[in-house]
Symmetry: C2
Subunit: 195 residues, 2 copies
Protein backbone atom coordinates (compact mmCIF):
# COMPACT_ATOMS: atom_id res chain seq x y z
CA UNK A 1 0.00 0.00 0.00
CA UNK A 2 3.10 2.23 0.09
CA UNK A 3 2.83 3.18 -3.56
CA UNK A 4 -0.15 5.23 -4.66
CA UNK A 5 -2.45 3.21 -6.92
CA UNK A 6 -3.80 5.28 -9.81
CA UNK A 7 -7.56 5.77 -9.55
CA UNK A 8 -7.74 4.20 -6.10
CA UNK A 9 -9.73 6.98 -4.47
CA UNK A 10 -10.78 5.13 -1.34
CA UNK A 11 -11.87 7.48 1.41
CA UNK A 12 -11.51 10.63 -0.71
CA UNK A 13 -13.98 13.16 -2.07
CA UNK A 14 -13.38 11.78 -5.59
CA UNK A 15 -15.55 8.79 -4.66
CA UNK A 16 -19.33 8.78 -5.00
CA UNK A 17 -21.44 8.84 -1.86
CA UNK A 18 -23.29 5.55 -1.50
CA UNK A 19 -27.08 5.77 -1.37
CA UNK A 20 -26.92 2.71 0.90
CA UNK A 21 -27.09 3.35 4.63
CA UNK A 22 -25.41 1.43 7.41
CA UNK A 23 -28.88 0.16 8.37
CA UNK A 24 -29.41 -1.18 4.82
CA UNK A 25 -26.00 -2.81 5.03
CA UNK A 26 -26.81 -4.57 8.29
CA UNK A 27 -29.97 -6.05 6.77
CA UNK A 28 -28.11 -7.08 3.65
CA UNK A 29 -25.37 -8.69 5.73
CA UNK A 30 -28.03 -10.69 7.57
CA UNK A 31 -29.48 -11.87 4.23
CA UNK A 32 -26.04 -13.22 3.23
CA UNK A 33 -25.55 -14.76 6.71
CA UNK A 34 -22.55 -12.48 7.25
CA UNK A 35 -21.71 -12.20 10.97
CA UNK A 36 -19.10 -10.68 13.28
CA UNK A 37 -17.30 -14.00 13.18
CA UNK A 38 -16.95 -13.65 9.42
CA UNK A 39 -15.30 -10.29 9.95
CA UNK A 40 -12.70 -11.93 12.18
CA UNK A 41 -12.05 -14.70 9.66
CA UNK A 42 -11.66 -12.14 6.88
CA UNK A 43 -8.87 -10.53 8.93
CA UNK A 44 -7.12 -13.89 9.11
CA UNK A 45 -7.72 -14.45 5.40
CA UNK A 46 -6.19 -11.06 4.65
CA UNK A 47 -3.02 -11.99 6.49
CA UNK A 48 -2.74 -15.11 4.34
CA UNK A 49 -3.70 -13.51 1.03
CA UNK A 50 -1.65 -10.33 1.27
CA UNK A 51 1.55 -12.10 0.18
CA UNK A 52 -0.21 -13.92 -2.68
CA UNK A 53 -2.02 -11.07 -4.39
CA UNK A 54 -0.01 -11.34 -7.61
CA UNK A 55 -0.56 -15.07 -7.92
CA UNK A 56 -4.30 -14.63 -7.33
CA UNK A 57 -4.46 -11.95 -10.01
CA UNK A 58 -2.45 -14.13 -12.39
CA UNK A 59 -5.05 -16.85 -11.99
CA UNK A 60 -8.03 -14.51 -12.42
CA UNK A 61 -6.52 -12.62 -15.33
CA UNK A 62 -5.51 -15.87 -17.02
CA UNK A 63 -9.02 -17.16 -16.70
CA UNK A 64 -10.59 -13.97 -18.11
CA UNK A 65 -7.99 -13.88 -20.92
CA UNK A 66 -9.00 -17.41 -21.92
CA UNK A 67 -12.60 -16.30 -22.60
CA UNK A 68 -13.03 -13.87 -25.50
CA UNK A 69 -16.50 -12.82 -24.34
CA UNK A 70 -15.04 -11.68 -20.99
CA UNK A 71 -11.76 -10.12 -22.10
CA UNK A 72 -13.97 -8.18 -24.55
CA UNK A 73 -14.75 -5.70 -21.75
CA UNK A 74 -11.08 -4.68 -21.75
CA UNK A 75 -10.75 -4.25 -25.50
CA UNK A 76 -10.06 -0.93 -27.23
CA UNK A 77 -11.43 0.49 -30.48
CA UNK A 78 -9.12 -1.86 -32.43
CA UNK A 79 -10.79 -4.89 -30.82
CA UNK A 80 -7.58 -5.85 -29.01
CA UNK A 81 -7.21 -6.02 -25.22
CA UNK A 82 -5.91 -2.68 -23.91
CA UNK A 83 -2.80 -3.62 -21.94
CA UNK A 84 -2.59 -0.31 -20.09
CA UNK A 85 -6.24 -0.62 -19.00
CA UNK A 86 -5.77 -4.23 -17.87
CA UNK A 87 -2.74 -3.21 -15.84
CA UNK A 88 -4.39 -0.18 -14.23
CA UNK A 89 -7.39 -2.25 -13.16
CA UNK A 90 -5.07 -4.99 -11.90
CA UNK A 91 -3.48 -2.73 -9.30
CA UNK A 92 -6.87 -1.74 -7.92
CA UNK A 93 -8.14 -5.32 -8.08
CA UNK A 94 -5.23 -6.40 -5.90
CA UNK A 95 -6.03 -3.67 -3.42
CA UNK A 96 -9.67 -4.79 -3.46
CA UNK A 97 -8.61 -8.23 -2.20
CA UNK A 98 -6.94 -6.56 0.77
CA UNK A 99 -9.80 -4.13 1.38
CA UNK A 100 -12.30 -7.00 1.34
CA UNK A 101 -10.38 -8.69 4.13
CA UNK A 102 -8.89 -5.87 6.14
CA UNK A 103 -11.10 -2.77 5.93
CA UNK A 104 -13.98 -2.08 8.30
CA UNK A 105 -17.25 -2.07 6.35
CA UNK A 106 -17.99 1.53 7.30
CA UNK A 107 -19.25 4.49 5.28
CA UNK A 108 -15.97 4.90 3.36
CA UNK A 109 -16.14 1.24 2.42
CA UNK A 110 -19.80 1.56 1.36
CA UNK A 111 -18.94 4.61 -0.72
CA UNK A 112 -16.11 2.83 -2.47
CA UNK A 113 -18.29 -0.24 -3.10
CA UNK A 114 -20.76 2.08 -4.80
CA UNK A 115 -17.92 3.62 -6.80
CA UNK A 116 -16.82 0.14 -7.96
CA UNK A 117 -20.36 -0.51 -9.21
CA UNK A 118 -20.38 2.78 -11.11
CA UNK A 119 -17.03 1.94 -12.69
CA UNK A 120 -18.43 -1.32 -14.09
CA UNK A 121 -21.64 0.35 -15.19
CA UNK A 122 -21.89 2.70 -18.16
CA UNK A 123 -22.06 5.62 -15.71
CA UNK A 124 -18.32 5.62 -15.11
CA UNK A 125 -16.70 2.74 -17.00
CA UNK A 126 -13.42 3.76 -18.69
CA UNK A 127 -13.36 7.19 -17.04
CA UNK A 128 -10.93 6.41 -14.22
CA UNK A 129 -8.26 5.15 -16.60
CA UNK A 130 -9.24 7.45 -19.48
CA UNK A 131 -9.50 4.56 -21.92
CA UNK A 132 -11.72 4.05 -24.98
CA UNK A 133 -12.94 0.55 -24.17
CA UNK A 134 -16.47 -0.85 -24.47
CA UNK A 135 -18.87 1.29 -22.46
CA UNK A 136 -20.47 -1.15 -20.03
CA UNK A 137 -20.10 -4.49 -18.24
CA UNK A 138 -23.47 -6.28 -18.14
CA UNK A 139 -25.16 -7.03 -14.82
CA UNK A 140 -25.31 -10.75 -15.60
CA UNK A 141 -21.51 -11.03 -15.69
CA UNK A 142 -21.14 -9.06 -12.47
CA UNK A 143 -23.38 -11.65 -10.82
CA UNK A 144 -21.78 -14.61 -12.63
CA UNK A 145 -18.34 -13.64 -11.31
CA UNK A 146 -19.48 -14.45 -7.78
CA UNK A 147 -18.61 -18.05 -8.51
CA UNK A 148 -15.05 -17.77 -9.90
CA UNK A 149 -14.01 -14.94 -7.55
CA UNK A 150 -15.75 -16.60 -4.63
CA UNK A 151 -14.37 -20.09 -5.10
CA UNK A 152 -10.89 -19.88 -6.62
CA UNK A 153 -9.60 -18.06 -3.53
CA UNK A 154 -9.79 -21.30 -1.56
CA UNK A 155 -6.54 -22.81 -2.82
CA UNK A 156 -4.66 -19.66 -1.77
CA UNK A 157 -6.18 -19.74 1.71
CA UNK A 158 -5.41 -23.44 1.94
CA UNK A 159 -1.65 -22.85 1.68
CA UNK A 160 -1.43 -21.27 5.10
CA UNK A 161 -4.62 -22.22 6.92
CA UNK A 162 -3.96 -23.66 10.35
CA UNK A 163 -6.74 -26.26 10.16
CA UNK A 164 -9.45 -27.47 7.78
CA UNK A 165 -11.98 -25.73 10.02
CA UNK A 166 -10.17 -22.40 9.82
CA UNK A 167 -9.80 -22.78 6.05
CA UNK A 168 -13.50 -23.35 5.71
CA UNK A 169 -14.46 -20.42 7.90
CA UNK A 170 -12.12 -18.05 6.09
CA UNK A 171 -13.44 -19.22 2.76
CA UNK A 172 -17.10 -18.90 3.75
CA UNK A 173 -16.46 -15.39 5.05
CA UNK A 174 -14.83 -14.48 1.73
CA UNK A 175 -17.71 -15.92 -0.30
CA UNK A 176 -20.30 -14.08 1.79
CA UNK A 177 -18.40 -10.84 1.31
CA UNK A 178 -18.21 -11.32 -2.46
CA UNK A 179 -21.98 -11.93 -2.61
CA UNK A 180 -22.58 -8.89 -0.39
CA UNK A 181 -20.38 -6.67 -2.54
CA UNK A 182 -21.89 -7.75 -5.85
CA UNK A 183 -25.29 -6.90 -4.33
CA UNK A 184 -23.90 -3.42 -3.56
CA UNK A 185 -22.28 -3.05 -7.00
CA UNK A 186 -25.59 -3.83 -8.69
CA UNK A 187 -27.14 -0.55 -7.50
CA UNK A 188 -26.54 1.56 -10.65
CA UNK A 189 -27.89 -1.24 -12.86
CA UNK A 190 -31.33 -1.40 -11.27
CA UNK A 191 -34.35 0.55 -12.40
CA UNK A 192 -35.49 3.31 -10.04
CA UNK A 193 -36.83 1.70 -6.87
CA UNK A 194 -35.92 -1.85 -7.92
CA UNK A 195 -32.65 -2.24 -6.03
CA UNK B 1 -44.72 -34.30 -9.49
CA UNK B 2 -47.95 -36.33 -9.70
CA UNK B 3 -50.08 -33.57 -8.18
CA UNK B 4 -50.45 -30.37 -10.13
CA UNK B 5 -48.70 -27.46 -8.41
CA UNK B 6 -50.76 -24.25 -8.57
CA UNK B 7 -49.04 -21.60 -10.67
CA UNK B 8 -46.30 -23.96 -11.82
CA UNK B 9 -46.62 -23.19 -15.52
CA UNK B 10 -43.35 -24.74 -16.70
CA UNK B 11 -43.35 -25.42 -20.41
CA UNK B 12 -46.75 -23.83 -21.01
CA UNK B 13 -47.90 -20.75 -22.90
CA UNK B 14 -48.70 -19.06 -19.58
CA UNK B 15 -44.97 -18.50 -19.09
CA UNK B 16 -43.11 -15.49 -20.49
CA UNK B 17 -40.70 -16.01 -23.37
CA UNK B 18 -37.17 -15.36 -22.21
CA UNK B 19 -35.26 -12.63 -24.04
CA UNK B 20 -32.13 -14.68 -23.34
CA UNK B 21 -30.92 -16.94 -26.15
CA UNK B 22 -29.19 -20.29 -25.87
CA UNK B 23 -26.02 -18.55 -27.10
CA UNK B 24 -26.27 -16.00 -24.26
CA UNK B 25 -26.79 -18.89 -21.85
CA UNK B 26 -23.66 -20.70 -23.04
CA UNK B 27 -21.56 -17.57 -22.46
CA UNK B 28 -23.12 -17.02 -19.06
CA UNK B 29 -22.49 -20.65 -18.11
CA UNK B 30 -18.83 -20.19 -19.06
CA UNK B 31 -18.62 -17.09 -16.85
CA UNK B 32 -19.87 -19.15 -13.86
CA UNK B 33 -17.50 -22.03 -14.78
CA UNK B 34 -20.54 -24.27 -15.35
CA UNK B 35 -19.59 -27.32 -17.46
CA UNK B 36 -21.11 -30.56 -18.77
CA UNK B 37 -19.65 -32.29 -15.75
CA UNK B 38 -21.69 -30.00 -13.51
CA UNK B 39 -24.80 -31.08 -15.35
CA UNK B 40 -24.01 -34.70 -14.53
CA UNK B 41 -23.40 -33.92 -10.88
CA UNK B 42 -26.67 -32.00 -10.69
CA UNK B 43 -28.45 -35.18 -11.81
CA UNK B 44 -26.84 -37.07 -8.95
CA UNK B 45 -27.68 -34.23 -6.56
CA UNK B 46 -31.30 -34.39 -7.70
CA UNK B 47 -31.50 -38.09 -6.86
CA UNK B 48 -30.26 -37.28 -3.35
CA UNK B 49 -32.36 -34.16 -2.79
CA UNK B 50 -35.66 -35.39 -4.14
CA UNK B 51 -36.51 -37.28 -0.93
CA UNK B 52 -35.47 -34.35 1.28
CA UNK B 53 -37.34 -31.47 -0.33
CA UNK B 54 -39.56 -30.87 2.69
CA UNK B 55 -36.66 -30.79 5.12
CA UNK B 56 -34.76 -28.36 2.88
CA UNK B 57 -37.79 -26.08 2.67
CA UNK B 58 -38.27 -26.31 6.44
CA UNK B 59 -34.71 -25.04 6.88
CA UNK B 60 -35.05 -22.23 4.33
CA UNK B 61 -38.49 -21.13 5.52
CA UNK B 62 -37.34 -21.24 9.14
CA UNK B 63 -34.40 -19.02 8.30
CA UNK B 64 -36.54 -16.50 6.40
CA UNK B 65 -39.16 -16.53 9.16
CA UNK B 66 -36.45 -15.62 11.69
CA UNK B 67 -35.67 -12.38 9.84
CA UNK B 68 -38.47 -9.79 9.84
CA UNK B 69 -36.93 -7.85 6.93
CA UNK B 70 -37.11 -10.98 4.75
CA UNK B 71 -40.45 -12.43 5.80
CA UNK B 72 -41.77 -8.93 5.08
CA UNK B 73 -41.99 -9.84 1.38
CA UNK B 74 -44.66 -12.41 2.27
CA UNK B 75 -46.76 -10.10 4.43
CA UNK B 76 -50.29 -9.00 3.59
CA UNK B 77 -52.01 -5.64 4.10
CA UNK B 78 -52.32 -6.38 7.84
CA UNK B 79 -48.53 -6.66 8.13
CA UNK B 80 -48.75 -10.34 9.02
CA UNK B 81 -47.20 -13.16 6.94
CA UNK B 82 -49.78 -14.50 4.48
CA UNK B 83 -49.90 -18.24 5.23
CA UNK B 84 -51.64 -19.13 1.98
CA UNK B 85 -49.04 -17.20 -0.05
CA UNK B 86 -46.14 -18.81 1.84
CA UNK B 87 -47.62 -22.23 1.22
CA UNK B 88 -48.30 -21.67 -2.49
CA UNK B 89 -44.74 -20.45 -3.06
CA UNK B 90 -43.40 -23.37 -1.04
CA UNK B 91 -44.79 -25.95 -3.45
CA UNK B 92 -43.14 -24.25 -6.41
CA UNK B 93 -39.91 -23.69 -4.48
CA UNK B 94 -39.72 -27.43 -3.86
CA UNK B 95 -40.26 -28.11 -7.53
CA UNK B 96 -37.53 -25.56 -8.34
CA UNK B 97 -35.03 -27.67 -6.37
CA UNK B 98 -35.86 -30.63 -8.60
CA UNK B 99 -35.88 -28.57 -11.81
CA UNK B 100 -32.47 -27.11 -10.96
CA UNK B 101 -31.05 -30.63 -10.73
CA UNK B 102 -33.05 -32.66 -13.20
CA UNK B 103 -34.26 -30.46 -16.06
CA UNK B 104 -32.24 -29.80 -19.19
CA UNK B 105 -31.35 -26.10 -19.41
CA UNK B 106 -33.22 -25.68 -22.71
CA UNK B 107 -35.59 -22.98 -23.95
CA UNK B 108 -38.43 -24.07 -21.64
CA UNK B 109 -36.05 -23.83 -18.73
CA UNK B 110 -34.82 -20.40 -19.83
CA UNK B 111 -38.41 -19.22 -20.20
CA UNK B 112 -39.34 -20.40 -16.74
CA UNK B 113 -36.20 -18.82 -15.25
CA UNK B 114 -37.32 -15.54 -16.79
CA UNK B 115 -40.81 -16.09 -15.36
CA UNK B 116 -39.32 -16.62 -11.88
CA UNK B 117 -37.50 -13.28 -12.20
CA UNK B 118 -40.73 -11.55 -13.20
CA UNK B 119 -42.55 -13.08 -10.22
CA UNK B 120 -40.02 -11.59 -7.80
CA UNK B 121 -40.01 -8.25 -9.59
CA UNK B 122 -42.89 -5.76 -9.42
CA UNK B 123 -43.90 -6.84 -12.96
CA UNK B 124 -45.61 -10.01 -11.72
CA UNK B 125 -45.15 -10.35 -7.96
CA UNK B 126 -48.35 -11.49 -6.19
CA UNK B 127 -50.20 -12.16 -9.46
CA UNK B 128 -49.67 -15.92 -9.64
CA UNK B 129 -51.19 -16.50 -6.21
CA UNK B 130 -53.59 -13.54 -6.36
CA UNK B 131 -52.38 -12.14 -3.06
CA UNK B 132 -52.15 -8.56 -1.79
CA UNK B 133 -48.59 -8.69 -0.48
CA UNK B 134 -45.81 -6.09 -0.88
CA UNK B 135 -45.28 -5.33 -4.56
CA UNK B 136 -41.59 -6.12 -5.12
CA UNK B 137 -38.56 -8.04 -3.87
CA UNK B 138 -35.43 -5.90 -4.19
CA UNK B 139 -32.57 -6.97 -6.46
CA UNK B 140 -30.08 -6.87 -3.58
CA UNK B 141 -31.92 -9.62 -1.72
CA UNK B 142 -32.20 -11.76 -4.84
CA UNK B 143 -28.40 -11.58 -5.10
CA UNK B 144 -27.84 -11.98 -1.36
CA UNK B 145 -29.79 -15.23 -1.34
CA UNK B 146 -27.09 -16.85 -3.46
CA UNK B 147 -25.23 -17.54 -0.26
CA UNK B 148 -27.90 -19.19 1.93
CA UNK B 149 -29.51 -21.11 -0.93
CA UNK B 150 -26.13 -22.01 -2.39
CA UNK B 151 -24.48 -23.20 0.79
CA UNK B 152 -27.13 -24.71 3.07
CA UNK B 153 -27.84 -27.45 0.53
CA UNK B 154 -24.51 -29.07 1.37
CA UNK B 155 -25.64 -30.85 4.53
CA UNK B 156 -28.51 -32.48 2.60
CA UNK B 157 -26.18 -33.68 -0.15
CA UNK B 158 -23.77 -34.93 2.50
CA UNK B 159 -26.27 -37.41 3.88
CA UNK B 160 -26.11 -39.64 0.82
CA UNK B 161 -22.94 -38.62 -1.05
CA UNK B 162 -20.76 -41.60 -1.91
CA UNK B 163 -17.48 -39.81 -1.25
CA UNK B 164 -16.18 -36.40 -0.16
CA UNK B 165 -15.17 -35.78 -3.77
CA UNK B 166 -18.66 -36.52 -5.07
CA UNK B 167 -20.17 -34.34 -2.34
CA UNK B 168 -17.94 -31.47 -3.33
CA UNK B 169 -18.67 -31.78 -7.03
CA UNK B 170 -22.42 -31.98 -6.48
CA UNK B 171 -22.28 -28.97 -4.21
CA UNK B 172 -20.17 -26.88 -6.60
CA UNK B 173 -22.53 -27.73 -9.47
CA UNK B 174 -25.46 -26.59 -7.32
CA UNK B 175 -23.77 -23.33 -6.34
CA UNK B 176 -22.86 -22.53 -9.95
CA UNK B 177 -26.45 -23.16 -10.99
CA UNK B 178 -27.81 -20.87 -8.28
CA UNK B 179 -25.45 -18.08 -9.37
CA UNK B 180 -26.42 -18.68 -13.01
CA UNK B 181 -30.13 -18.56 -12.21
CA UNK B 182 -29.94 -15.41 -10.11
CA UNK B 183 -28.13 -13.79 -13.06
CA UNK B 184 -31.09 -14.83 -15.25
CA UNK B 185 -33.68 -13.71 -12.68
CA UNK B 186 -32.09 -10.25 -12.53
CA UNK B 187 -33.19 -9.43 -16.10
CA UNK B 188 -36.39 -7.49 -15.30
CA UNK B 189 -34.57 -5.43 -12.66
CA UNK B 190 -31.96 -3.98 -15.01
CA UNK B 191 -32.31 -0.73 -16.90
CA UNK B 192 -32.73 -1.06 -20.67
CA UNK B 193 -29.48 -2.41 -22.11
CA UNK B 194 -27.79 -2.87 -18.72
CA UNK B 195 -28.43 -6.59 -18.22
Amino acid sequence: MAERIAGYDYGTDAVAVSPVTQDDLQLLKAATMFSDEDEQYLRKAGEILKDQVDQILDLWYGWVASQPHLVYYFTGPDGQPDARYLQAVRHRFGQWILDTCLRPYDQDWLNYAHEIGLRHHRTKKNQTDQVASVPHIPLRYLIAFIYPIGMTIRSFLEKKAESPEELDKMHQAWLKSVVLQVALWSYPYAKEGDW
